[in-house]
Structure formats: structure tokens, C-alpha cells
């Protein structure tokens, strides 16, 4: 299967031999993957296969036991989350991790408070427009609907002016209108040169948005390729549906 030529040639993110064990649970068990510049890579796999843990390892929220993570050419494994973020990596969380007692606008401004403050108010206004959140700009984040909370968290990642954004099920359970807003924003950001690694269970979205799919199971990458390659893969079918007895 294709490994994605642009990914291999000039990766913005490369992960080699990454291990993280929580007691007896092997959340990352030798993960190997690359994400190319300006690429939208989809990360799929059954629940509990280690996708979100991989995000936490790459973003510095969790320290790996062993392995190499290179972001934009720099080794970042074991680096603190705020330092990795300042290098240009942004992420969302599976369950929206908002600043609940702050307003929507302040949530966006807080995302720009470290390192990207120049023009932050203007960018916050643009982001509110882009994500159609103007009407709730002064509301507290905790007062937003579930879908709006997903939008706001995505907006914070946008405010970081990152070169790579990790999206953890950003469209899961949201209204189709909100999903459309997010997908349009992803397309627009990709045109501006932003790369994405997207965890997603919705295969329709994966097919429409992602250039390349990475499939994980039991803490490791089992295969990678185009959507068409992936759906034809017996290995992927076994990963999702189980092996015949």
C-alpha cells in the first residue's frame, strides 16, 4: 500500500518506535507513522487502540516510555506540552477541554496569549466569523451546546496559527451544519499550508477529507494508504470486524 510519497519526502511529523505502557496496557506499542506537509492524514482504528494516547504523546501531554517523535525536524519526545505547542503544534481533545468559566472570545484570546498575541483580537473576530460563533461571542463556554463547544475548541486550535493540528473526533456527534463549517475551515486552512492528523470514526468524512489513512490496532500502525486501498484491505476488515474463528 501507498505510504504517501509527500509524507515520506518531507514529513512535518514523524514517529518512530514509540512505546507507552500503562501498567499491563500497551497504549503505544511501537508506533511508526509520518504526516506530510500540507497533508490531511486520517487516523482510524477501533476504540481503545491507542489513537488518543498517540495524540497525547505527540503533543507532550503524556511522556513516552521509548521512541522518537520529530515535529518539523525537531525531536520533541519528552518535551513539555507548552514547548511543543510553541513550536507550532495544536490539538483538540476527544471530550472538549474548554475554559468553561471564560467567554467564547476569551477562550480564543487565551489560545493566542502565548506567542501569537500580535493581532489576536482581529484574529479572534475572524475566527468567530469563520466558525459562525459571533452570536455567542460573549457567552460562557460552558453555556454552549455540544456542537458549539466542538467548534470553539477547533477555533482555539486555529488561533494558535499552528503548522500541524491534531483533531480528535472533532465532528463526532455534531449537527451536519456544524460539521460543514468545520470541514470548510479545515479545507481553507490546508490551502494556507496547515497539516492535519485527524482521528475519526465517520468513514464518510474520512473519505471526503483525508489524503491518506493510517490504521491503528493494539497500539501500533497496521497499515496506511488511500481510502480505496484501506477499504479493500483484509487486514483493516479484520481490525474492525475481528478475525474469522
Amino acid at each position: 500500500m501507498s505510504g504517501g510519497m509527500q509524507s515520506a519526502a518531507d514529513p512535518i511529523l514523524s514517529v518512530r518506535g514509540l512505546f507507552k505502557h500503562f501498567g499491563g496496557i500497551k497504549a503505544a506499542n511501537g508506533v511508526e507513522l509520518v504526516v506530510g506537509r500540507h497533508e490531511i492524514a486520517g487516523l482510524i482504528g477501533p476504540n481503545g487502540c491507542g489513537k488518543s494516547t498517540l495524540f497525547s504523546l505527540v503533543s507532550g501531554t503524556v511522556i513516552p516510555d521509548k521512541g522518537e517523535i520529530r515535529f518539523d525536524g525537531r525531536a520533541v519526545a519528552g518535551m513539555s506540552a507548552h514547548r511543543i505547542a510553541r513550536l507550532g503544534l495544536a490539538r483538540t481533545f476527544q471530550i472538549p477541554a474548554l475554559f468553561d468559566n471564560m467567554t467564547v472570545t476569551d477562550n480564543l484570546l487565551a489560545a493566542a496569549a502565548e506567542g501569537h498575541w500580535q493581532g489576536a483580537y482581529e484574529r479572534a473576530a475572524e475566527t468567530l466569523s469563520l466558525l459562525k460563533l459571533n452570536h455567542v461571542a460573549d457567552n460562557r463556554a460552558s453555556d454552549l451546546s455540544g456542537g458549539q463547544q466542538k467548534l470553539l475548541e477547533f477555533g482555539r486550535a486555529v488561533m494558535r496559527q499552528a503548522s500541524l493540528i491534531l483533531l480528535d473526533e472533532v465532528t463526532a456527534g455534531v449537527h451536519p451544519n456544524i460539521r460543514k463549517i468545520i470541514l470548510e475551515a479545515i479545507a481553507r486552512l490546508r490551502e494556507q499550508g496547515v497539516s492535519f492528523l485527524v482521528i475519526e470514526h465517520d468513514m464518510e468524512m474520512v473519505r471526503n477529507v483525508c489524503d491518506r489513512i493510517i490504521v491503528m490496532d493494539s497500539g501500533r500502525v497496521v497499515t496506511t494508504g488511500s481510502f480505496e486501498d484501506i477499504v479493500r484491505s483484509s487486514e483493516v476488515m479484520q481490525t474492525y470486524l475481528g478475525r474469522p474463528q
Binding site: 501531554t61 507548552h82 475554559f99 468553561d100 487565551a110 502565548e114 506567542g115
Partner: protein, 330 residues
């Protein structure tokens, strides 16, 4: 025509100006007894403000704030006595430096803890200082230490007033109107997400802790000179922190004016109980009841009542007092 502008920001400024003028002329309108009560009320409003910086804005409940109040008091008492004999004004910066150093040493490891663990660690620090001050000769031991008397009530009133005003201005400028405040509030609401936004949460917490500690130490320095005698229990005692906590909870945790409202309200209640019953033991029962009532019925404190009905409750009161503007609310 309205006496007070209809714009909420201007209204706030007019109210602030009125408060400043009233507090500015107060020493010439009341006797020394009431002036001492006003001085105490300003001190507690300022101490509650100092506690609110870390507890309210950063979400770290510090049960050892009295340690910093006591450090400021003891440094002033120590340096004003023999053999140093330094003037009062020179002891304040010394107390601030000593307090800042202690806050860094204590804060760096303890701020890695959260919730009850952080609260217990800071409480233990204050207890250690009580034992230390009780055991050492240079602190006067359990008997305490005296300071040269300066019987000028107006001086202490304005010292407390100026320090409290500066504390609230700093809180407004740093926590309500700056990038720093956004970082502090972000880490309070979701620390891992704040880290993922590039915020060095360990550093921001430590900066807030030091600012909160140094503010309390200045009040401790003025307090020591004011009362002319301190001992370990009177400045390091856990009840000092307890009162700050209750004042902030009553007034409004993480709000600008909540600590002032709670601080003044509870201190005045304390003094009234003392006046009418001659004993403040009943005050402890009031504190306990206040905690229960606040938690049950006023989770956002008194200030939260106004915030919830922004442009409503406060504005209605003002409208009744001075009449509404022709154009109504913007």
C-alpha cells in the same frame, strides 16, 4: 437628566470615584475607634484580595496564606528592633523580598499538587512557620516581639487604604485586563488544555503565587507596626487564612470586587459581635454558618448576584437612587 452616566463603564468609574472620596475623607469624619475598625476592614479586604489572586483566579486553594502575612510582620518587627533599627518604610521591601523567596521555594514543589493536596501542603507550611517562630530566640519565641509604637491612626488607615487600593488595581490590571489574566484563568479551568495552548502553567502558577504572597506580606508589615506587638499565633494562625477564604467565598470567588465585599462585611460583623457581646467566639459560629449558606445558596458569592443580573440589579438600584438616563441602556 441623569446624575450618573448610563454607560456601565462610566457608572463603574463614578462609583469608584465616590468610594475613593468617601474613604479619603473618612479619617476626618469619625473618631479613632471607628477609624481603627475602618483600618481593619481595609486590611481584610486587601488580604482577601491577595488570597483571591491564587484561589479565585488560578483555582489553587491556599490554606497557608497566613504564612506570608506573618513573614511580612516578622521581617518588619525584626528589622525595626535592635540591632537594626531600620525605618518602617525600609522594612517593607525587605519583607517583600523574603516573602517572594519563600514563596518560590514553597511554591515550586507544592504547585505541582492540586486540590486538597495543595491545600494541605500550604497549611503545613504555615504550621511549620508557627513552630519555627515559637522556637527561635530572634523571633521572641512564643512570647512574641514588640515594635516601636507610632500612635498615628490616620497613618495606618492610609497605609492600609493605599495598599488595598494598589492590590485591587493590580488584580484588575493583571487578572482582568491582560494576557497574564487569560493565562491564569485558562489554567484554572483546564490545565492540560492551557498547556496545549503553549502556556507554561508551572511558571504562571508560580508568578501568581508569589504575587499573592508578597501582597499579603505588605499587609503583615503594616499590621505589625500598627498593633506594635506580634506573636506566632497572631500573625501565622490558621484562623487568619480561614477568614480570608470565607470572605472571598462570601464575596465571590475569582471576581474583582467580591473579596472587598466579603472582607468588609465579615470584619464589620466581627466587630459588631465584639461590641455587643464582648466576645468573638460567636464569630466562629457565624463563619461556619456563612460557609454553609454560601455553598448552598450563593455558589458565586454576593458579587455573583450582580454579575448574573448584569445591567439589572445594580442598575435598577442606581436608577432608583439617581434616575435613569434619557437614552436608556446602551
Amino acid at each position: 437628566m441623569a446624575l450618573i452616566p448610563t454607560n456601565p463603564q462610566w457608572r463603574g468609574l463614578v462609583l469608584l470615584a465616590i468610594i475613593i472620596v468617601v474613604l479619603g475623607v473618612l479619617p476626618w469624619t469619625v473618631n479613632n475607634y471607628w477609624l481603627r475598625i475602618a483600618t481593619g476592614a481595609l486590611m481584610w479586604a486587601g488580604l482577601a484580595c491577595s488570597w483571591n489572586m491564587l484561589g479565585g483566579y488560578a483555582g489553587y486553594i491556599n490554606f497557608g496564606q497566613s504564612a506570608f502575612f506573618g513573614l511580612g510582620a516578622y521581617v518588619t518587627a525584626f528589622l525595626m528592633g535592635d540591632p537594626f533599627g531600620l525605618p518602617f518604610s525600609a522594612t517593607i521591601p525587605a519583607g517583600m523580598v523574603v516573602t517572594a523567596l519563600c514563596a518560590v521555594i514553597i511554591g515550586a514543589p507544592t504547585l505541582r499538587l492540586r486540590g486538597a493536596y495543595f491545600a494541605i501542603a500550604t497549611w503545613a507550611f504555615a504550621e511549620v512557620l508557627i513552630q519555627f517562630a515559637s522556637a527561635m530566640d530572634f523571633t521572641g519565641g512564643i512570647g512574641g516581639i514588640g515594635l516601636p509604637p507610632y500612635l498615628n491612626e490616620r497613618f495606618f488607615y492610609f497605609a492600609m487604604f493605599g495598599t488595598a487600593a494598589l492590590s485591587y488595581f493590580l488584580t484588575w490590571a493583571l487578572f482582568e485586563r491582560s494576557r497574564f489574566g487569560l493565562k491564569v484563568k485558562a489554567l484554572r479551568d483546564h490545565e492540560p488544555a492551557a498547556e496545549a495552548m503553549g502556556i507554561n502553567t508551572a511558571l504562571v502558577k508560580l508568578q501568581t503565587f508569589v504575587l499573592s504572597a508578597v501582597t499579603a506580606s505588605v499587609f503583615g508589615a503594616i499590621f505589625a507596626y500598627w498593633v506594635t506587638f506580634i506573636n506566632p499565633k497572631s500573625v501565622f494562625g490558621g484562623d487568619i487564612t480561614d477568614q480570608m477564604v470565607v470572605m472571598v467565598l462570601l464575596g465571590g470567588l475569582g471576581t474583582l470586587w467580591g473579596p472587598a465585599i466579603g472582607g468588609v462585611a465579615l470584619f464589620v460583623v466581627n466587630r459588631l459581635i465584639w461590641m455587643y457581646w464582648g466576645d468573638t467566639a460567636f464569630y466562629i459560629a457565624i463563619l461556619g454558618t456563612a460557609i454553609v449558606l454560601v455553598v448552598l445558596f450563593l455558589p458565586n458569592g454576593i458579587a455573583g448576584l450582580f454579575a448574573r443580573r448584569k445591567n439589572d440589579a445594580l442598575d435598577k438600584v442606581l436608577d432608583k437612587l439617581v434616575g435613569s438616563g434619557e437614552g436608556g441602556h446602551p
